[in-house]
Amino acid sequence: MSNVPKVGVFEAYARATTGPRVPEKDWDYKIIPQAASRLKEKYGIKMDKRKMIPTDENLINNLFRAGMEMLVECGVYCMDTGRVIKYTEEEVWTAVKNAPRCLTLGEGRDSRELKGRRYDDSRPPIIQGGPTGAPVAEQDFVAMHEAYAREPIVDTIVDGVMQTINGYDPRPNTPFEIAAVKNEAMMIRLAQVRAGRPGMGL
């Protein structure tokens, strides 16, 4: 569908330093709400909250067109540079085309294939179990994650956040934050090993 070069993180940053300048308040309170509202009207989008999964193909495709147009029309705001990263629709399609259709989470016998499925697929999604960023007491961290890894239906682990590290508050941008994050990864791997699933993804 598209032959334009792929835009990745490096080009995105370059555009964040050269794109149009916009005050952040204008972005939050004018550009985003006004664009979303205009596109809702343009595509005649009306959702029924009693029907949580749509079956109307027209509604489904119009939501996609509106979302695509929102991204191309608005771009993405970089808070540190105060500028907007802009793309063309062709660039978005190039990224979509190059995105993986399938990948392997974890290693060896404990790995799982994450691959495309449709809404009516009888194959279930990957089950990623864990506290999902919720705080966990340091002394219970391994045990709690081991309990998830022991569940046969759980395919991969999503970790919690260690509340302290050696009793210290892992405040952002401090050495204790780094220590907490590294310990979290090590302790979850230990929990997976203790559950007999050393190759499990995280």
Partner: protein, 237 residues
């Protein structure tokens, strides 16, 4: 971490990013890591209501694969008033966004779980079930949870909620969409009137034998009761 683990980066609300996030994406890219881009659009936030939030959700999902070179995207539409992903309106955002993306692309999509009620409560499990049904029957490839009790209280999460999320996903996969929507409407109606009195539940330490790592008899009873409700709605595992 290994390259085969999911390396996370978060977009900011709405359609925003900072240089720090781009910098660690650069590291992930150069290290050959799997990249998971997360984002939680806020219903009732900058974008506005139901339709507007869904449009923004589609836009930011697409952006994940462009700006952060994501291998897969982790959604999490969240309700501004309740701070949860299981309210009717945000389930509708997630369900509509997933169908829009899945119908038009091959992108790999996940969703994350924040319930209002906490562990060892029927309400927590019913909230979990509603989202698992929505995600599975809208074509998502991965479900990720559960941050029970809104994911803010220490140790208020257990593996039993993840077990339930998984079993419900397995049970609903392949079910006719009209039937799914009927079940969902009834199921959400069972808990959405209880938001102001939602039970915080019990901690991991109260729910598990910490030596054997087995759930308590009390939680097993609650679990059975929740499955009984789903059975009556037409869901079997």
């Amino acid at each position: 971490m290994r390259a085969s683990d999911s390396h996370e980066v978060s977009q900011l609300n709405e359609l925003k990013i900072d240089v720090g996030a781009l910098s660690f994406v650069a590291h992930y890219v150069l290290a050959g890591d799997i990249i998971m881009c997360e984002q939680m659009p806020i219903l009732g936030g900058y974008a506005g209501g139901l339709e507007e939030t869904t449009i923004v959700d589609v836009a930011t999902t697409l952006n994940a694969f462009l700006m952060t070179q994501a291998h897969w995207h982790l959604d999490g539409p969240i309700h501004v008033r309740w701070g949860i992903t299981t309210a009717r309106e945000v389930l509708a955002v997630a369900g509509h966004c997933a169908r829009a993306i899945e119908e038009n692309t091959h992108l790999l999509l996940g969703n994350q779980y924040y319930t209002l009620a906490g562990p060892c409560t029927v309400m927590c499990l019913l909230e979990t079930a509603a989202q698992s049904i929505t995600d599975t029957a809208s074509g998502r490839e991965l479900v990720s949870g559960v941050a029970s009790a809104k994911g803010v209280a220490t140790n208020y999460t257990t593996a039993m909620e993840a077990r339930f999320m998984g079993e419900v996903a397995h049970a609903v996969a392949g079910m006719d969409l009209e039937k799914v929507n009927g079940i969902l409407d009834e199921l959400v109606g069972m808990y959405e009137t209880q938001y102001k009195t939602a039970p915080k539940g019990k901690t991991f330490n109260e729910c598990y034998d910490l030596v054997r790592l087995t759930p308590s008899d009390e939680y097993m009873q609650v679990y059975k009761e929740a499955w009984g409700i789903l059975n009556k709605l037409g869901l079997k595992y």
